[in-house]
Symmetry: C2
Subunit: 188 residues, 2 copies
DNA sequence: ACCTGAACACCGTTCAAGT
DNA sequence: ACCTGAACACCGTTCAAGT
């Protein structure tokens, strides 16, 4: 009945710990310095050990992006649905991306993993369906595209400074988001 | 009066040739394999020679992205202005990005260079102003964000396949673009 | 002014070998 | 099943030295 005893306080390696450590290093040191070697060192392990749990660096980046998206989804008010949900989701993603130095760039370069993204998408579509969003696939795609592009510009330091003095960021994001929602059937 | 004679058919190195060569290698081999070493080799020069003409790899990526944007701008019908121009510009960018394997990702990770982007932006705003776009900064930003995010999803192979079977890409892009334009004052 | 040669401190990935 | 040690083929960047 006893679980196999662990040799120390440290748990076994495992894919989850690698992903979590990767996300921590992403915040602390940025995407450029996010190397498998750095992750391995933070976990007290040799670099090739990671390859038992992940296929390659590309897959790890995909897993990291999906994990963050899942967290964002978990943090939303569970009672909202439909267009309200869609817009709250977009705002939460933008907030996350803009608070992070490189999360938007991670999402931009990472590919969805085999099972992961489909599962997230079905959670989203369930919430959209309840509220009766008209063309949920298209609406989600449009909102998500806008939000990702927006986050990328806003976390580009040179671009951000240039933009912040030319316009009100929050207002512009809301205007764009509202316009897309309206275009896809939202009567707000 | 004679220019200093060149030692061969090859011109001097120069920033422009580095940028052009970088863009060619980006198309041929993708962003992952776009190294300063590969560019130097393609130019028949040693890698450190590049540093006489560029500050670092980051600046080169910015220059490359701006050069492509300039080309896209040059290729547009010069007679359109206002909202028509804005939408044609968005379509041209999306086309460029989607035809290219990694251009969208280049734009996503690159930062604007000191003079370059400002100059491009002023060209754009001149065209928007003629046609009387209401909040040109905000409208441009919203359209550009949407287009970049869209291109990123559509050039992500796994994502693209998943999306293409769930919806009509062209129709969805047009719907999103039209929605944003409408939200920023376009009466089409 | 512009470029080379050599070096430094890194990378991701593979693979035999250990336990 | 899971991890180490050693190696391979790369990176961006610096800097003295050449022309």
């Amino acid at each position: 009945m006893a679980r196999p005893k662990s040799t120390s306080v440290e748990e076994r390696l495992g894919r989850d710990r690698i992903v979590v450590t990767g996300l921590r290093l992403l915040e602390d040191h940025g995407l450029e310095r996010l190397s498998l070697r750095a992750i391995a060192e933070a976990l007290g392990v040799q670099t090739p050990a990671l390859y038992w749990h992940i296929r390659d660096r590309g897959q790890l980046l995909g897993l990291m992006a999906e994990e963050r998206l899942r967290q964002t989804l978990d943090g939303l008010d569970p009672s909202t649905s439909g267009y309200d949900f869609l817009m709250e989701f977009a705002r939460a993603i933008a907030r996350d991306h803009i608070e992070s130095r490189d999360l938007a760039r991670l999402v931009a370069i990472s590919a969805p993993t085999d099972g992961g993204y489909v599962q997230i998408q079905s959670r989203i579509h369930a919430r959209l369906a309840v509220g009766g969003v008209e063309r949920p696939q298209q609406a989600l795609m449009a909102v998500f595209s806008f939000t990702l592009g927006w986050s990328l510009f806003m976390t580009n330091p040179a671009m951000r400074e240039h933009l912040s003095q030319a316009m009100n960021p929050e207002g512009t994001f809301e205007a764009g988001l509202g316009a897309i929602a309206a275009g896809f059937g939202y009567h707000g």
